[in-house]
Each structure stands twice: as C-alpha cells, then as structure tokens.
Amino acid sequence: MLSTSTSTLVFWFLTILIVASALAVVLLRNIVHSALFLILTFVGIAGIYILLNAEFLAAVQILVYAGAIAILVVFAVMLTRRGDISESNLFNKNYLAAGVLCLALFILNTFLIGQTFWTIKSGEPPLNNVGAIADAFLGRYVLPFEVAAVLLLVAMVGAILLARGVNQDQ
C-alpha cells in the first residue's frame, strides 16, 4: 500500500495524464495520433486500477485495451486510409452542439455526485485478489462467464464474416 500523500500525488498525476490524453484523442486531427493517445489513456486507467487495489484488472486493461484493442484500431486505420493522413480525424457539423451537451452533462453529473451521500465502508481488500476473482467467476457468476465466452466466439465469427465480405457470386 502506498502512503496517503503518495497516493494523492499519484492520483492527480494519473488524472491529469488521463484527461489530457483523452482530450488529445478527441481533439487531434490526425487519426494515428489519436490512436496513440488512446493507448496512453488506457495505460493511465490501468494505473488508476492499481491505485484502487485492482491489480488483476490493471493487467487485463493493459493486455486487452492497450495490447489488443489499440492494435486493432491501428490496423483499421491502416486498412481504411485514404487521402491526407494529417486531416483524417475531423469534426462534423454537430461539434458545437455536442460540446455544449457534453459540458452540460459533465456539470450536471458533478453536481449530482456532490449531492449524493455514499455509505463508505472500510474494510480490508482480499489478499489474494486474483483468487477472489476466480472464485467469483467459476462460482457465483459461472453462467455469465460462460455466456461471455459464447459472446466472444460469436463476435469473432461475426467479425471474420464481416471483414472478409460475402462473395457476391454465391
């Protein structure tokens, strides 16, 4: 466990990192840059997980998001590349309305969070985090677990079919 002041420091650092790189993802005009900042955001979020004593989740975050999904995104960018890459990630005509909406949602959300009373519980997190998660998955949540497996299989088959394209002759 980190000491309180250290964790506070780390939290602010990570927060700034996450928010800044997320803004970069959204605001930059080059889609490749956006993808790279996306990876940075994911890594920052993994740090937040560690801060919250969710080490296993942090590992999954790095593996799945930073490893697999970001790479997928980069692949997709490469395969659909057309025209000038430095102008590949532009805003559409809704950008102003969307900005107002998102700002309003953020302000409202923050107000509501401040108004809400949470019953904070103090307690020791389980020492063996991975073991606890494994118990949950193969015990109480075994059915959703299996369904998730089926979902992944279906998504994989669907993605292959869609990406390959149906042969028009058949």
Binding site: N94, L101, L105, L112
Partner: protein, 624 residues
C-alpha cells in the same frame, strides 16, 4: 310425463338435425323422421294434458323447473326452464296435433317438389321453436323462441325463393316482425329493470304490488307491440296476407293455427301485467276489435282464396286479442284453440283445391264440389264453424267472446263483434258459392287429393265439430275451469247473445246466397254504385301504399340526410385525421436524417433534460 315435458321440443329439434345432416337426400325418410318426431311430441303432449287434468295442476299451482342458463350473481339471472299449467298443456296439445296433421298432409302436398326434405326440416325446426315458446317459463326464453319461430316463418314464406314475390314476402314478414320484436324486447327489458327478473311467476307476484303504474303501462304497451306484430294486428298486419306466398301447409300451420296465435298466447301468459292496467287493456281491446272489423271488410272483396282466408285469420286474431282486452282471457284462449282447428282445416282444404286445380282465384273456379267431395264438405264444415253456426266449435268460442265483451261493459265492442260475425259468414259463403258451386268453368279438371291429404282434413273436420263442447256452458269442469285468470268462473249461457249471433251468422250466409249463390248482377251493381268504397277495400285501405310512401319519402329521406352526414361529417373527421397524419409525416420525415450521430445527440440531450427535470428542486429533486 310432466317431468319429462322438456323433451317435447327436443324431439323436433333432433329431427331437424337428422334431416339436415343425414337424410336430406332421401325424401320420404326425411318426411318420416319429421312425422315420427312431432308424433312423439304429440303423444307426450297428450300425456302432459292427462296429468294436468288428473293431478289437478291448475293456473295457481303450476309445475315449474328450471336451471340457470346465464347468470351474474346479484345482477342477472336468465333461466332455461319449463312452466306447465293448463294453459301450456292446452297449447301443447293444439300445436302438436295441428303440426302432426300438417306434416302428414305435406307428404301429399309437397310430393315431387324440389326442396322436399328441407321443407320438412323447416317444419321440424318450427315445431321445436314453437313448443319451446309454449313451455318457456320466462320472458327471455319466450323471446328467444319467439325469434326462432319468426325465422322459420321467414324461411317458409320464402320457400319458393326463386319466385320474386315470395322472396319479397319473406323479407316483408321478417322486417315487420323485427319492428314488433324490438318493442317487445324493450318492454320486457323495462320489466327486468323494474323487478330484476324475467320469470313469469316471480313477476306475477311482484307486479300487483308495484305502484308506479305509468311506468308499468309503458312496459306493458311495449310488450303488447310484440303480439301486434306476431299476431298481425293493425297496423303491423301487412305481412300476413303476403305470407300466403309460402306453401299452403305452412300457411295452415304457421300463419293460421299456431305461430300467429303465439301473440295471443303471450298476452295470456303476461295477463297479470295487463290486468293491472285498465288503460293498456283498453288499447288491447280496441286494437283487437278494430283489426277484426277492418280485416273482415277487406276479405269481402278479395278474389284469391288464400288471401280471403288470410284476412279471415287476421279478423279472428283480432277477436282473440279483443277478448284478452276486455278481460276474458279464457274466451280468447278458447277461441284460439277452436280457431286453430277450423282455420287449419280451411287452409288445408284450400291447399287441396289449389293442389288439384293449380289455381287460386275463386272466380276461375266453380262447380268443383262434384269432383272433390271430401275437400269441399270438410271446407264447408270448417266455414260453418268459423261463422259460428251451432253446435260447431266456433259458435261456442265466439259466443263466449261476445258475451265476455258485453259482461265487462264493452257494448260498443260487442256490437262491432256482432257486425264482424255477419261479415265473416258473408265473405266465407261468398267464397264457397263462387268457388264450389255455380257453373263449371271450362278447362278445369278437379280431382280428389290423395289419402295423406284427405285424412288430416277429416280429422280436423271432426275436431271442428266437437272441440267447442269442451268450453260449452252446459259442460261442468270444462275449458273455463282450466284456463282462467283470477278466479275460475262458470260460463252462464247468455241466450240473447247466442240467439243474435246465430241469427247474424245465418243472415250473412243468406246475403251471400242472394248475391253469389245464383246468377245475379247485384254485386256488379253495388260495385258500380260505390266505387270509392270498393276500391278502398279491394286495395286493402291502401295501407301497403301508405307504408311504401312513408318508406320512400320519410325513411329514405332521413337516410339520405344521415348518409350525407356520415359521408361528409363523420368520414370527414376521420379522413381529416388521416390526412393530418400523412401531411405531418410528410413534413416530419426530414427529421430522420439517417445520421446516427444526430440521433445519439438527441438521445443524450433527452438524458440531460430528463436528469435536470428529476434533479430540479421544484419537481422534488435533490439539487439544493
């Protein structure tokens, strides 16, 4: 036997199903099924009548059993049940007997006709419905069967549906009866609304204690509209003469002896309702008396044998209704019974003549008594019975009605009834002298009808002679001690009334003989002397024309207005709603940009707005 009386209508109903589904292709077997079924019902009816007499079942102590057919506890109870008192027993006997004889007669009459089997199936269905109507123990059931007999009547009037006039006559009967049935229905619904029951006996105990007679009078008048239609009283009588388009056995059974008497039977069943309301009784009496007179005058000028008999039926039904109206229910039912026998006989005899000559116009007949001795002699017996010549059946029953009118202080109606008696013998013997005697017309080849047709004639002739004795004044424990309302009363013979009515009947016959019994130009002279009256009578007082005018001008005019209203106002509103939807859709479709991000924007805007709404303190939210 009484406990199984509910089976009496079931037999013909089963026969109907058997004929329709099994034996339709085999004609004689269908007829046999029908005859056996109604014969069984007849034997059971005799059994019921015997038990009623032996076991002393009276009007006060009837046998009733029922089960709840349809019910909402506390609100609605509709029973299916059987009520047997002497009234029921007598009606059962009369209806099954006449129906049985007509079924036998039809085998000969309908021989070789297309639709022979369906004719018998209709007869069986009619038998079932009519017997159900008689046995019913409540208004709802009686109405149910009332509609069924109306349906059978419609089917049988339009039996020769390929003939345009027959199809139209069926329609006319049906529509006219619908008008009346609607009144009847409203009437007994009002009764239900007041008393909360349809049951006759429960109503009989409740009605005399009810105070609001004005309301009750409306209900009673509406109930009386039913008999006005079914028993063809003025002004809804127009369907009955046209109903003669049906086969003659049907005219005998349905449109003379039984179904048209259902109205009178209903009056008898509901007599307690009418008896407590003198005003309504007065209406009933005068409608009946007027119809009796009105129809008799028309009958004098008609030339179609069946139409003469039809107007005679109207007139006699008027007598019965008048009897109900003056308060002698016994006399009305007595006349119903005797009339059923001799009027069925008259129609069956007419059918026999029509069957032989294929001619209905009496002026084209003549001198046929030599060829058809049985038919003609039974026809004359029936006519004498109808005219009220002693000691035949009609004499006793008609006398009782006239005496009843006089005893209850309706002197005017008594005089009217006597005049009608005169007219009755006039038109009946006009028919007889013209059609049966006189010169033979060339080209007519009469022949006596087959045995199946003459046998019912002979049986009915015997009944026309003797059936009056059950109600004759000198018979103790006769008809009047069986069927009565209030106290059973012994009929005191009123020799004055008797004498006058016999004299009047004989006078009618004599006048008919003077005018038509020998070659004479007096009828033609009278016709030319009073052309207005003659035209009025021969055209049946132009009632049909008035109705047609009303229909064309008033109903079609109102319909035209309603049609316009429906097309332009009602349809306009709905078309307008449709057009508005279309037009607004046409404009609003541009909102559908097809851009998913726009949709998402709208969705999240809605999320923000809803969250704001919920969170705002004015609406009970949590934002302070």
């Amino acid at each position: 036997m009484i406990n199984n009386a509910w089976l009496i209508p079931v037999f013909p109903a089963i026969a109907f199903l058997i004929i329709v589904f099994l034996t339709r292709r085999v004609q004689l077997l269908s007829a046999l099924v029908g005859i056996v079924a109604i014969g069984t019902s007849f034997i059971m009816s005799i059994g019921v009548l015997r038990e009623v007499l032996v076991n002393g079942i009276s009007m006060e102590n009837p046998v009733e059993y029922a089960f709840t057919w349809l019910g909402i506890p506390g609100y609605l109870k509709i029973e299916a049940g059987v009520l047997i008192d002497p009234l029921t027993a007598v009606m059962l006997f009369v209806v099954t007997l006449v129906a049985f004889l007509v079924n036998i007669y039809s085998v000969g009459y309908m021989h070789g006709e297309p639709g022979f089997s369906s004719f018998f199936s209709y007869l069986a269905l009619f038998g079932a419905s009519m017997l159900g109507l008689i046995l019913a123990n409540n208004y709802f059931m009686i109405f149910f069967f009332w509609e069924l007999v109306g349906l059978c009547s419609y089917l049988l009037i339009g039996f020769y549906y390929h003939k345009h006039s027959a199809a139209r006559a069926g329609l006319k009967a049906f529509v006219t009866n619908r008008v009346a049935d609607f009144g009847f229905m409203l009437g007994f619904f009002i009764l239900f609304a007041i008393f909360g029951t349809f049951n006759f006996r429960e109503l009989a105990t409740a009605i005399p204690n009810y105070q609001d007679t004005a309301f009750l009078a409306i209900a009673a008048t509406l109930v009386f509209v039913g008999p006005i239609g079914k028993s063809a009283q003025f002004p809804l009588h127009v369907w009955l003469p046209d109903a003669m388009e049906g086969p003659t056995p049907v005219s005998a059974l349905i449109h003379a002896a039984t179904m048209v008497a259902a109205g009178v039977y209903l009056l008898a069943r509901a007599f307690v309702l009418f008896a407590s309301l003198p005003t309504v009784m007065l209406i009933v009496a005068y409608v009946g008396g007027f119809t009796a007179f009105f129809a008799a005058t028309i009958a004098i000028t008609q030339s179609d044998i069946k139409r003469i008999l039809a107007y005679s039926t109207l007139s006699q039904l008027g007598y019965m209704v008048m009897a109900m109206g003056v308060g002698s229910m016994t006399a009305g039912m007595f006349h119903l019974m005797t009339h059923a026998f001799f009027k069925a006989l008259l129609f069956l005899g007419a059918g026999s003549i029509i069957h032989a000559l294929e001619e209905q116009d009496i002026f084209r007949m003549g001198g046929i008594y030599k060829d058809m001795k049985v038919t003609v002699s039974t026809f004359i017996i029936a006519s004498l019975a109808l005219c009220g010549v002693p000691p035949l059946a009609g004499f006793w029953s008609k006398d009782e009605i006239l005496a009843g009118a006089l005893n209850h202080g309706f002197t005017g109606l008594y005089v009217l009834g006597t005049v009608v008696a005169f007219l009755t013998s006039l038109y009946m013997f006009r028919l007889i002298f013209i059609a049966f005697f006189g010169k033979r017309r060339a080209g007519l080849h009469g022949h006596e009808s087959p045995f199946t047709m003459t046998l019912p004639l002979l049986i009915l002739a015997v009944l026309s002679i003797v059936s009056g004795f059950v109600g004759a004044p000198f018979v103790s424990h006769g008809f009047s001690s069986l069927v009565y309302y209030g106290e059973p009363h012994h009929v005191v013979p009123n020799y004055g009334v008797m004498g006058i009515s016999v004299l009047v009947a004989l006078a009618g016959i004599f006048v008919a003989w003077v005018l038509y019994g020998r070659p004479s130009d007096v009828p033609t002279k009278i016709k030319h002397r009073f052309p207005f009256i003659y035209n009025l009578l021969v055209n049946k007082y132009y009632i049909d024309e008035v109705y047609m005018w009303l229909f064309r001008r008033v109903i079609l005019g109102v319909s035209y207005i309603l049609n316009w209203h429906d097309r332009h106002v009602v349809d306009g509103i709905f078309d307008g709603v449709g057009r508005l939807t279309r037009a607004s859709g046409h404009k609003l479709r541009y909102i559908q940009t097809g851009n998913l991000q726009t949709y998402a924007l709208v969705i999240f805007s809605a999320v923000v707005i809803i969250t704001l709404w919920i969170a705002t303190p004015v609406f009970g939210g949590m934002l302070q």
